[in-house]
């Protein structure tokens, strides 16, 4: 009990001080990538894992967030801190708009429609040359400024992404562990039964879509200002698949799972660089093996120990919900 707590503090300090001991641009870039993908995997997990909607176009939301940010930063004087929430809200709106008509579809059909949506968005990025400059992309996106200090080094961006990830984790964790999260799960489990107890499945599916899109948009906004150049090539359907793989590999409907999935799938291809062209094959093989031997993922739902109504019914006092990961209610 005490040692796990100590471990947590040490881990938190290591993460906080990462740029100090990891004085390597390449490593820091990977750490930042992990941060971006944690946000993407978590946001997709609310749609796929919790609401059970098989969506294959998450890169489109990521892209919309990026393009909104890039265009606003390039064409207006708005501060990044204002653009960031705007990008999130605009993307969330897109999630809502896409969700409204397709939400009545199920399973494979929804997958195909969202796949199509992803392609349409990408083609808009490519072909709407007047605004997006098409395949040439948008270069020279401003860095954020805070009280006259401009974010330039990787360490600056590392801390920014750390804050964004923390907010994402906190918000999504709170939502999925509330009554709303439970309602989402019922919709995933059995829509007819959910309806028979008075739940409106469409409402919850829309909430999941909107929230998922919103946080993907935030991730996109960060990506745009961090890389300072975006082009349609960054938001391909392979990226959607990669994000989905993180969710599935990490464990559906698990916050910790999505975080682990993102870390593993960002780090593994880097570790396998020695295998050059074969590395993605190896990653694929690893995923196949994982799904055969541990289909619930690294940290799937079976690990969910906390009862949604634990506080009201617990025989023994439960720990406070102060901790962020859902792994720690083991006592």
């Amino acid at each position: 009990m005490k040692s796990t707590r100590l471990l947590k503090i040490v881990a938190a300090l290591l993460i906080l001080a990462l740029p100090l001991w990891l004085r390597n641009e390449y490593m820091l870039h990977i750490a930042i990538s992990i941060g971006i993908y944690i946000m993407l995997a978590l946001s997709l997990n609310t749609i796929v894992g919790y609401a059970g909607q098989f969506a294959l176009g998450h890169a489109a939301f990521y892209g919309i967030g990026s393009y909104v940010t890039a265009l606003l930063l390039l064409n207006t004087d708005l501060s990044f801190w204002l653009v960031l929430p705007i990008a999130g809200l605009v993307t969330g709106l897109f999630g809502f708009i896409l969700g409204s008509p397709v939400i009545r579809l199920r399973g494979d059909y929804l997958g195909i429609v969202t796949l199509g949506f992803g392609e349409i968005i990408r083609l808009i990025f490519v072909n709407w040359v007047d605004v997006t400059r098409g395949p040439m992309g948008l270069p020279g996106i401003r860095s954020p400024e805070l009280f006259g200090y401009t974010f330039t080094s990787s360490a600056d961006f590392y801390y920014l992404v750390l804050v964004l990830v923390a907010i994402t984790v906190l918000v999504i964790y709170r939502v999925v562990h509330s009554g709303m999260g439970l309602s989402l799960l019922t919709v995933r489990e059995d829509e007819v039964v959910a309806e028979s107890i008075g739940i409106r499945p469409t409402k919850y599916k829309l909430i999941a879509f909107t929230m998922g899109a919103l946080f993907a948009g935030v991730a996109g906004a960060f990506y745009a200002t961090y890389i300072s150049f975006i082009s349609p090539d960054s938001f391909l359907y392979t990226d959607s698949v990669m994000i989905l793989a993180m969710v599935v590999l990490g464990g559906m409907a698990s916050v910790t799972g999505s975080i682990l999935g993102a870390i593993v799938l960002v780090v593994t291809p880097e570790l396998l660089r020695f295998a050059s062209d074969y590395r993605m094959m190896l990653v694929g093989l690893a995923i196949v093996l994982m799904m055969v031997f541990k289909p619930q993922g690294f940290w799937g739902e079976s690990r969910r120990k906390r009862n949604f109504y634990g506080k009201e019914l617990a025989d023994k006092p439960q720990k406070s919900a102060a901790a962020v990961s859902d792994s720690n209610s083991a006592t």
Partner: protein, 235 residues
Amino acid sequence: MLQIEGLSIHYGVIPAVKKLNIEVKQGEVVTLIGANGSGKTTTLRGISGITRAKEGKILFQGKDITKMEAHQIVAMGISQVPEGRGVFPDLKVIENLYMGAYLRRDKKQIQRDVEEVFHLFPRLEERKEQVAGTLSGGEQQMLAMGRALMSKPKLLLLDEPSMGLAPIIVKEIFKIVKRINEEGTTVLLVEQNANMALSVAHRGYVLETGEIVEQGTVTELQNNDKIRKIYLGIH
């Protein structure tokens, strides 16, 4: 309490139920019996708003609920126990029960009602922390019923509670149906197992290919030669 007048429901062009007239009075157990595909489940789904009626009217406590959405109908006080194992398999027993009270806001009373459901189904209390998918068939049926009761329904719609269960469990379930009714809940029971259904009901309707062919009190039905032969297997 519930009046169904001239209800027709179609799946595409195929009529599943034709011009049904059914009445359920306060405090009764009314059963709909019939073979596979006779339209029993469709009728229930029509009442609870999951399937839309093509023609006819459904009145609940004098109000027309034909065009209402499923969640509004639940709020009116009609709760359905779906066919088969209508539970959320990956949620815990206790979570399943609480979800039944989804539309209610009176936390304290909900708490007491959970205790009451446990009183009715002691086995559920033993398994409250278990994931519903790991329960036996009978226990899942009990959980589905308990969850339906959590919405404090005035009318409980039961869709084949005996389906796929061992005879001894079926008996137990029907005993509980009777008890639920005695405690003041009106029940509309859909069953293939006519024997069991007639043992707890006050009145019954017999459906064949979407139409009512017989109706009456339990004694009338039990003494009807045709029903004795076809549904009760007594010669």
